[in-house]
């Protein structure tokens, strides 16, 4: 773990935001990890970013979703975060990771409808974090590897954002590029 203090502060603030169901704050905390995730690419940092973003989405949809086991799952999710926080405070990184991983294990035990719903939320959270890391300048393949995604997952999402329109991405006269390809085909 490269950034213990940062993760501690993140989880601590997230737990406060969860109590007041401040979804915007949870998302903001999740985004705070993107800068350091782009530089250090620390799996613990990336995992907590995804966990917090997914949680913000799950709480956001709480009222709209009528699936058996929903509330129990959210309670388990928050309890795991609390236990992870205590473990990290005691410098027990192994137990911290166990608690974080327990959320994933719990998903596998959910009923099939809830499981596929939650898995989808998690996949979208990963893609969201991935697109932010790509936006910061990391290649699509590298980003996919960091997040454990496929390049296919990211390609379509990235195209829907404004990332490609930054003037810094313009590197060569388009006429010259067209000339290169026309020559190759002649």
């Amino acid at each position: 773990m490269l950034e213990k203090e940062h993760i501690l502060s993140l989880v601590s603030n997230a737990l406060k935001a969860i109590k007041t169901e401040n979804i915007g704050k949870i998302k903001e905390l999740s985004n705070q990890t993107v800068h350091s995730a782009s530089i250090y690419q620390d799996p613990d940092n990336i995992a907590i970013a995804v966990i917090l973003y997914a949680l913000s989405k799950l709480i956001e949809r709480r009222e709209r979703i009528d699936l058996a086991g929903w509330n129990e799952f959210i309670n388990f999710y928050v309890k795991s975060l609390e236990r992870a926080f205590i473990a990290l405070k005691k410098d027990d990184i192994e137990l911290y990771r166990e608690q974080i991983n327990s959320i994933e294990s719990k998903i596998n035990m959910l009923s099939s409808n809830l499981k596929s719903y939650v898995e989808d939320v998690f996949r979208k959270a990963q893609i969201n974090k991935g697109s932010r890391i790509y936006e910061h300048g990391i290649s699509i393949e590298k980003t996919a590897k960091i997040l454990g995604l496929s390049v296919w997952d990211l390609s379509q999402y990235i195209g829907q954002t404004q990332i490609q329109d930054l003037s810094l991405t313009y590197t060569k006269d388009i006429k010259k590029r067209i000339e290169d390809i026309e020559q190759a085909f002649n």
Binding site: S139, W152, S155, L168, K175, D180, F185
Partner: protein, 230 residues
């Protein structure tokens, strides 16, 4: 004259970002048609094949796309590099590129790891072909690898802007500048000019360029407008 042209060895190396974008935009037939009029070969490297075929074949939502790319390989439209280049040498060169590129941009004393095997393999293959005097273009839709090759200073500025911290460049990447990059959008442009796109609407070119942009091709609106007028 035509025979002489056909004998010139030339290649287009496909990165996964370009293949995925063209396939998801329904340009499977266009790739085949482009290959038929191209006086050379379209190449796929082992790491790109893994990313675009082997791995996604195991994921339901991408399996159909992966099968279409596999079909392009089976049809001989995309050629593996086996008989073209020494694979062990390519592996060595790829590792060299990854090592250099991933130790170029530093935030404080931390190197930022920016590219992976598939992208690096395409660049290594292009450099090896160049060394043997063989004409080639590399088709890459994603932004970072293209910036590394054509304008690393812009990538440094992008990092600085996004990470709000000073970024240093500690390697000279000039040797990569010899790699000539195209994107799916340029391939679509050629397809249109050669009459391979069967949509005859006056806005077809603009439509296909935007479809590819929204599919992940790193191209600006301004570039699309210029391309349209060419």
């Amino acid at each position: 004259m035509e025979n002489t042209k056909k004998q010139i060895k030339r290649y287009i190396i496909f990165d996964s970002s370009t293949l995925i974008n063209m396939i998801t935009n329904g340009l499977f037939d266009i790739i085949i048609k482009l290959k038929k009029i191209f006086p050379g070969e379209f190449l796929i490297t082992p790491a790109v094949e893994y990313e675009t075929v082997e791995h996604p074949k195991k994921i339901q939502r991408f399996e159909w796309g992966a099968l279409r790319i596999e079909e392009l390989i089976n049809l001989g439209i995309l050629k593996r590099i086996d008989n073209i280049i020494d694979k062990s040498e390519l592996k060595r060169q790829t590792q060299g590129i990854m090592r250099i590129a991933n130790n170029t941009f530093f935030s404080a004393n931390q190197p930022i790891s920016i590219i992976e095997a598939g992208e690096s393999e395409c660049l290594a293959l292009s450099l090896m072909l160049n060394k043997n005097g063989i004409q080639n273009l590399t088709a890459i839709d994603e932004r970072t690898a293209r910036l590394v090759i054509e304008n690393p200073e812009n990538l440094r500025k992008l990092f600085r802007q996004k990470l709000h911290t000073d970024i240093q460049i500690r390697q000279n990447l000039d040797y990569l500048k010899q790699i000539r990059i195209i994107r799916s959008t340029e391939l679509a442009y050629v397809a249109m000019k050669k009459g391979l796109l069967i949509i005859h609407d006056k806005d077809a070119l603009e439509a296909v360029l935007y479809a590819l942009k929204f599919g992940g091709a790193s191209i600006t609106d301004r570039e699309i407008q210029v391309t349209k007028r060419l």
